[in-house]
């Protein structure tokens, strides 16, 4: 794992609660907002299970700590998207909160129903970008959620030990979290593979 320069983190008093909201004007229309919200709720909860930080969705986009939207090409932040594949998304380090996904991608919740060869798993990318929002940079561990690349039609949503070690060094551990639960999850993943 690694961090951004200066090791920025959300410097709130415990218990830390971060709000998130979706842009009303910059969304995709082929996945229902309800389904998108469910995916993000699951992605946020994975991080919340390992650190003493909770996440709450709110409606008021401008006042949210984390602001999520889908954007095409040059969208004004100096980091233009590049069309299908290439760059999928980006998010900014704490305490900026901007979380942008490339609207040109074929975002998918389920590869059984979406057959496109260039479909990208929304939940995997959401989980990765939340890591950036929290202060993690890219990892060189290929299995980690914070590894920078993700193949089309692949899924990587479960945090690995590298991800957990990194984020817990910033925020401490969730008192309810045990490494054995993570290992159990990794073992079941390996057997599944």
């Amino acid at each position: 794992f690694s961090y951004f320069y200066g090791k920025p983190r959300w410097g709130r008093q415990a218990p830390v609660m971060l709000t998130y909201a979706f842009s009303q004007n910059n969304m995709i229309d082929y996945i229902s907002l309800n389904d998108i919200k469910k995916v993000f709720k699951r992605a946020f909860s994975r991080w919340a299970q390992v650190i003493p930080v909770s996440f709450k969705e709110i409606e008021d986009y401008p006042s949210a700590d984390i602001r999520i939207g889908f954007y095409y090409r040059d969208h004004g932040d100096g980091q233009p998207f590049d069309g299908v594949l290439g760059v999928l998304a980006h998010a900014f380090s704490p305490e900026n909160g901007r979380f942008h996904l490339d609207a040109s991608e074929t975002w998918a919740l389920d590869f059984e129903t979406v057959k496109s060869r260039v479909a990208v798993d929304l939940e995997s990318v959401a989980t990765h970008e939340i890591g950036h929002v929290l202060g993690l940079a890219h990892s060189s561990v290929k299995e980690a959620v914070m590894y920078p690349s993700l193949s089309p039609r692949s899924k990587k949503v479960d945090l690995k030990i590298d991800d957990v070690n990194g984020v817990q060094a910033l925020y401490g551990s969730n008192p309810n979290f045990t490494f054995s639960s993570l290992l159990a999850s990794e073992n079941s993943f390996n057997k599944g593979s």
């Binding site: 998304a89 990208v120 950036h132 940079a137 890219h138 060189s140 590894y147 690349s149 993700l150 193949s151």
Partner: protein, 99 residues
């Protein structure tokens, strides 16, 4: 953005000159491995600075470190990825200190 489009770079190393390498240098600049170009660099020549960038890229992404545009490296370049820079970071893994 396909493997086929990058085959001409396969196994290029220091001293090689391949058409389009300047665009590859822009990719490495985009993700933090090369500094912003002045008017004389970002040519199609695989120079020493580009070799350092390739080595840093291979190291950061856990690839075999060859300093060449080998098949593993090109496969990674054509893979979809996050747009956040790989190198504006510090403190990768654990630092060992002698006491």
């Amino acid at each position: 953005t396909t493997w086929h489009g990058f085959t001409r770079f396969l196994d290029a190393g220091k001293g090689s000159q391949v058409s389009g390498m300047s665009e590859l240098k822009e990719y490495f600049n985009r993700f933090g491995y090369l500094p912003i170009p002045d008017e004389n660099n970002f040519t199609d020549i695989f120079d020493k600075q580009f070799e350092s960038a390739v080595i840093a890229y291979q190291t950061n992404l856990g690839l075999p470190v060859t300093g060449l545009l080998d098949s593993d490296t090109i496969s990674m370049i054509v893979s979809p990825r996050c747009g956040v820079s790989d190198t504006k970071t510090h403190g990768t893994t654990f630092q060992a200190t002698k006491h």
